[in-house]
Amino acid sequence: MLGYLARRVAMTLPVMGVVALIVFALLHLAPGDPASIMAGDAASPAELAEIRARLGLDAPLAVQFVTWLGQILQGNLGLSLHSHKPVAEMIGSRLGPTFSLAVATVTVSLLVAIPMGVYAAWRRGRLSDRLVMAVAVLGFSTPVFVVGYGLIYLLSLKAGWFPVQGFTALTTDPVRFLRTATLPTLTLSTVYIALVARITRSSVLEVLGEDFVRTARAKGVPEARIVLRHALRNAAVPIVTVVGSGAAFLIGGVVVTESVFNIPGLGRLVVESVLARDYPLIQSLILLLSLVYILINLAVDVLYTVFDPRIRY
């Protein structure tokens, strides 16, 4: 187990290296010029040259890459081109809203989707199964921002139950947090619910066809008990897998959702930094989000061994 863990962690290192290389190449081979961004509207060509020299932008690319990588490894993410604040600090101040949103989304999704999937599997082929699955497909196909605006229109503007946009931290005002976080959570959950409900349904169906289930049935074990005890337990591995791989959708969804609901989290920071061409910030954000994604999937792999003792590496 420990040996497996060590090997698994070691395997992520080259991936991170490739990610770093891609991120660096992406921003340094691009035509944009950080110097003209820093210098502002009325800069003269001479001032631009001076800023370029100061930022080290005239050094060879290889040198710039090594310098940059060295700094990153020391935990120095650099300064934002615009605010001149440390990038790490800017990212840190945006973690809270995104983290609470992500946790709420995963929780809500699992609570809704697993019963949905189990129910659909149990009622397989019937109208209620088709209905549940239709909702799931719809959730997967509707763009996040259309869902968001739909919810705002119905529940905020028409019903008046929730504020249109904005975000309040849980610690500032728990009631207000619930009011502001509900719609973004529901919006973000649609894709996840669709994914998880479908995988739950198909894995439960798969298990229901297996011999030990048939045996249990023959022995007269109640159907509900079979579904909940045996089928769901065995469906855990694929569900965990989908939650892990779905993290990519979650991160993409966060970018859009925070933009729709004006939530000052990491997703909006991605859009802001990109529109402002704040290169150090963009680089660090991509690295961080990739790292999160890699770690989630690492955790998923480790969880396999917990949920399914049959898997040995």
Partner: protein
């Protein structure tokens, strides 16, 4: 690496979208046909110019003259939505095709030549570890928004999944007796690849391709929505929605009309993709 390999192909792994024989795939095909036809013929039929700016008729409500109303520059939203179908489907099909070609090529080589495999797959893992929307947003932003960069931004995060798929098939085939026979008969490598291997990848590629189209249509809309997609005057569903955001409360149609078309398109492509999978690749279909 088991977890990373599942990335993005979630719809496939998640099993069938709907129970077989629901008649839904026929229905989906019909809806897609209508949207496709309107993208193809619509611009020839409707008189309104999706680019014409009319300062007098700004932000009009839907009426007989402007079926979906007008936007903040007085442009006809109906015309923009119909032309938008053309843009969205073009981006979707073109980027899926690019991903398939590029992915198949690299996948074939990586799967067949052991030396290449290690390096290529590490690079693919790296690309796939970057959340695709984030990669696409950054890519368009630094290279400037136009059709070419938007296609690139969709293809770059997507094609590694095709590489992985094709490589997997090829790795399996290498062990097959007829391939080993071909190798021992000194058949040229390109011939082995084209004759014996490529045809085997077709079925999964067609299925994968349909999901790539759906996700590309979505990604284009998301990029435009975030302000880093196609140039704003280009009629695309994402652009119409992005420009309507500010006026959402007074003119919800600016978001709902293009949003509806977008959701319908993606939904139906996904349904068709499912039907294709069942028809072409019975191994992938979930047990009933």
């Amino acid at each position: 690496m088991s977890a990373l390999t599942t990335t993005g192909s979630a719809p496939r792994r998640a099993g069938r979208l709907l129970p077989r024989g629901s008649g839904l795939s026929a229905c989906a095909a019909l809806v897609l046909l209508v949207i496709g036809l309107s993208a193809l013929v619509g611009p020839l039929v409707i008189a309104a110019d999706p680019l014409h700016i009319d300062p007098v008729n700004r932000l009009k409500l839907p009426s007989a003259a402007f079926w979906f109303g007008t936007d903040a520059m007085g442009r006809d939203v109906f015309a923009r939505v119909v032309y938008g179908a053309r843009t969205s489907l073009l981006v979707g099909l073109a980027s899926a095709a690019l991903s398939l070609v590029l992915g198949t090529l690299i996948g074939l080589l990586a799967g067949y030549f052991r030396l290449l495999d290690g390096i290529v797959m590490r690079v693919m893992d790296g690309i796939m570890a970057i959340p695709s929307i984030v990669l696409a947003v950054a890519l368009v932003a630094v290279t400037g928004a136009n059709l070419g960069t938007v296609l690139l931004a969709i293809v770059l995060p997507d094609f590694p999944r095709v590489v992985r798929l094709v490589r997997g098939v090829i790795l399996g085939l290498r062990q097959e007796a007829y391939v080993e026979a071909a190798v021992s008969l000194a058949t040229p490598t390109w011939r082995i690849l084209l004759r014996h291997m490529l045809p085997n990848t077709l079925a999964p590629l067609i299925v994968q391709g349909s999901f790539l189209v759906a996700s590309a249509v979505l990604t284009e809309a998301v990029l435009s929505f975030l302000g880093v997609g196609l140039p704003p005057e280009v009629p695309s569903w994402g652009n119409v929605i992005a420009e309507g955001r500010t006026y959402f409360q007074i003119r919800p149609g600016l978001i709902f009309f293009p949003g509806l078309f977008l959701a319908l398109t993606v939904l139906n492509i996904n349904l068709i993709g499912d039907a294709l999978r069942d028809a072409l690749d019975p191994k992938l279909a979930t047990r009933r």
